[in-house]
């Protein structure tokens, strides 16, 4: 029993320290997601544009859909020096244009591609720190399922975000186990455990009933 306690205590400590930067990312970004601009965390920055001519699209790429279109356009974006997660691809058929927002945490780039003229306008904007955290918080997320995870960093981030959530559950469960060994703190702890569960359940009931 003593051995289990010591192992649990070490795992709680080391796993908690490992996930702590991720917890900070998720906790700080909550304020940006819920309140927009918070001090310097959410301010906009000015955009920088450049125009590239002679851009060639693979034949019929604009007519493709979903992942196939993304795969066809990826080499074009690479040739323009634009790398990152493609958020979505919008085909404005009337103007013969493709609009492609590409994001990495801290930088958003929009490529507007006139596929008849072979002209691409690449507009980049450096995101403030808080916006980069908020981007990581809400991705990969439930939207654009077919396209999401088209960049390597996003596939890795999905693994790390999941790992953070699973390890957080482990850290909380192991924390409860460690607390049960502190006899002097049991009464207060039980009261707080019930108070937290009751107030949170009541709040959920109030907003969702």
């Amino acid at each position: 029993m003593r051995r289990l306690y010591l192992i649990t205590r070490d795992l709680h400590l080391y796993i908690g320290l490992f996930i702590s930067p991720f917890i900070l990312v998720f906790a700080i970004s909550v304020f940006v997601l819920l309140h927009g601009s918070v001090g310097g965390l959410g301010r906009e920055s000015s955009a920088v544009s450049r125009t590239v001519t002679g851009v060639r699209l693979p034949a019929g790429a604009q007519a493709l859909q979903g992942r196939a279109r993304l795969e066809a356009l990826r080499p074009v974006l690479d040739s323009l020096g634009v790398h990152g997660e493609i958020d979505f691809i919008r085909h404005v058929a009337r103007d013969r244009r493709l609009v492609i927002p590409v994001t990495v945490p801290g930088r958003g780039t929009t490529v507007t591609l006139d596929y008849d003229q072979g002209v691409a306008v690449v507009t980049s904007r450096t995101q403030p720190f808080g916006e980069a955290l908020a981007y990581l918080h809400r991705t990969p997320g439930p939207h654009n399922v077919e396209l999401r995870g088209n960049a390597l960093f996003m596939r890795l981030w999905r693994v790390m975000a999941d790992a953070t959530a699973y390890l957080l559950v482990f850290v909380t469960v192991s924390g409860v186990y460690l607390w049960t060994a502190l006899r002097a703190e049991r009464r207060v702890g039980i009261a707080l455990l019930f108070a937290g569960a009751a107030s949170f359940s009541a709040l959920i009931y109030a907003v969702a009933r």
Binding site: D10, L13, Y14, L17, F18, S20, P21, F22, I23, L24, V25, F26, A27, I28, V30, F31, V32, L33, L34, H35, G36, G42, G84, V104, P105, G106, A132, A134, L136, P140, G141, P142, H143, V145, F153, M160, A161, D162, A165, Y166, L168, V169, T172, G175, V176, L178, W179, E185, G189, L192, L193, A195, G196, A197, F200, S201, L203, A206, V207, A208
Partner: protein, 226 residues
Amino acid sequence: MPSPVDRLSLPDASRSRRAEAFFIWNRRLHYYLGLYLLLACWLFALTGILLNHPKWEFAQFWPSRVQTRSERAFTAPEGVTDLERAQHLMQQFGLVGEVQWPTTRPAGEALAFQVIRPGRAIEVKADLAARRATVQQHAYNVWGLVHTLHTFGGVRANDRVNVRDWPLTTVWVLSMDALAVGLLLMVCSSYIMWYRLKSKRRGGVVALGLGVGSCGSFVVGVRWLT
């Protein structure tokens, strides 16, 4: 009368007692907060996983939502602003929740909006001239409920159309803020507790270093590399 040695050690002893009290309360803060926030932590951790895996069959909620549609008559909505008129209509229809506006206003004498709350979304399309409205409700299953609890905030960041208008949305948002503050405090208190465990410092530096390195590679590293 205290000796010179005693006079020197008195402030030190007092400082030491204060420091000890701080460390005791830091430890208490860590597990008191952890116990109080336990359920909320579990909800947001587990729903976070669900949100990252929208293809998981068991957690689908949109296809199995229950839809009801009704035609309602109403008296002329009171109020100067669209929000006031919408809230008066909601009162007449017995609807409660956060009003969400479409990006474009419908033409003519019409009022269209959504009333949302976790687990439910209601679309209202009111013809102000004919005093008739269609009310379409989408009620989600338990997966839909927990999914929307995670994302419910009333207003998205950079939303210029909507304002938080339901008091319970504000309460929910404040409780999410409190959870975030609680997590920040727990992380800080854990660093202090770890720092005091001299035998665990080296292993802790490795664990924290790995965490900072891997997390930092996403927060700033990807931008530098691309």
